[in-house]
């Protein structure tokens, strides 16, 4: 029974792992921290999995736990050196058409997001994931109006960081 549950979980997680990677992308600064957070989210998901009844989609359920882990449960490991070097970070954009300027803009954008608070990062993450304000308010536990207010503030803050 346990083996069956484990297999089901691993298959689903393997399929939807990009959600965790994207959360790690916003909340960590280097590959070691990324791997650490990925592992912690996986552990928390596995712990909560027996209670997952399939009422929500597996991916929706993952959003909550991954964000909760990044905001609430995750503690940066002191063993590893924390760097803020975006260039060191291993990520690729699928080779569509993009030029150097766009890549540069993206790097600046990521660096600006890293300066936001944990809560603001979560809002930006949900915005990038194209969640509507109802879903954002449910995930964060705030009203839709407040989610909108906070989102506008986070965007304003980003704009200020990018254009001081």
């Amino acid at each position: 029974m346990e083996k069956e549950l484990e297999h089901k979980f691993v298959t689903q997680l393997e399929k939807h792992q990009n959600i965790i990677h994207k959360v790690c992308r916003l909340y960590t600064n280097n590959q070691d921290a990324h791997n650490d957070l990925f592992q912690e989210v996986t552990i928390q998901l596995w712990r909560a999995f027996p209670k997952f009844r399939g009422e929500a989609k597996f991916s929706t359920w993952m959003y909550r736990i991954a964000l909760n882990t990044a905001i609430t449960l995750y503690r940066k490991s002191k063993r590893k050196i924390q760097t803020n070097d975006i260039a060191d970070f291993h990520f690729k954009i699928k080779a569509d058409e993009y030029d150097d300027t766009e890549e540069e803009q993206l790097k600046l954008m990521y660096a600006a997001i890293k300066q936001l608070s944990d809560i603001e990062k979560a809002l930006i993450f949900l915005y990038l994931e194209e969640k509507n304000y109802r879903e954002i308010s449910e995930t964060m536990g705030i009203s839709e109006v407040n989610a909108r207010v906070k989102m506008n503030r986070a965007k304003g803050k980003l704009k200020k960081i990018l254009n001081p």
Binding site: L13, K22, E40, T42, Q44, D118, M140, G141
Partner: protein, 205 residues
């Protein structure tokens, strides 16, 4: 916001090194390093120290000091009662913690649980302060030992002040050290949780 829209466009195209099923299986065996885990371990230690000390400490100690008759049973029963009440409250709060809750609910429940144990420790420290005050007063002013010696002879009002000062200073020092260690320990563990909780709470004001 133009820059954010550029990011949005590339967001779903980003790829990361794929974690294999085998690696995921291995991760399931690893231990969580979450801050909350440590908060709960310390909470449980605090609760058990309170319970154990309530049961054993007062039975063994202070036998040589001629304390008022009510001191020992009062301390023993009140600390056991307090430990039991708070263990129950802690357990009840703990069971409401759920990682699938909204971010705010999860933070609220963790902070509520933490607050319960904080209250418990403060009550225990207050009890300890009363105990230290009583023990010090009796040790210094009542006849003790084989020769029934009195450590501090009071002969004037000034002596009362000096005695009062010594007792209050020693009590404050002991409690102060306990509080300092306590708040340093939790200050570090709770910093991130408190900051994020405050940010979400401020929105509702």
């Amino acid at each position: 916001m133009e820059e954010l829209d550029i990011l949005k466009k590339s967001w779903n195209k980003e790829t990361h090194p794929k974690v294999s099923a085998e690696a995921i299986y291995k991760m399931l065996l690893k231990k969580s390093s979450s801050a909350v885990k440590w908060i709960f371990i310390i909470c449980l230690i605090e609760l058990s120290i309170g319970l154990i000390s309530g049961l054993f400490l007062s039975i063994e100690s202070y036998e040589n000091i001629n304390l008022p008759f009510w001191t020992e049973p009062a301390i023993t029963y009140s600390s056991i009662l307090i430990a039991l009440i708070y263990s129950f409250k802690f357990y009840k709060n703990y069971t409401t913690i759920n990682t699938t809750s909204s971010v705010k609910d999860l933070l609220t429940n963790i902070i509520k649980t933490r607050r319960t144990v904080k209250q418990y420790v403060l009550i225990n420290l207050s009890l300890m302060a009363v105990l230290v005050l009583v023990v010090l007063t009796y040790t210094l002013t009542a006849p003790i030992g084989v020769n029934n010696e009195i450590a501090f002879q009071i002969s004037s009002t000034k002596d009362y002040f000096i005695l009062g000062f010594i007792i209050v200073f020693v009590t404050a020092f002991i409690i102060g050290i306990c509080l300092l260690v306590y708040f340093l320990l939790y200050g570090l563990l709770m910093r991130k949780l408190n900051r994020n909780y405050k940010e979400l709470k401020q929105l509702d004001l």
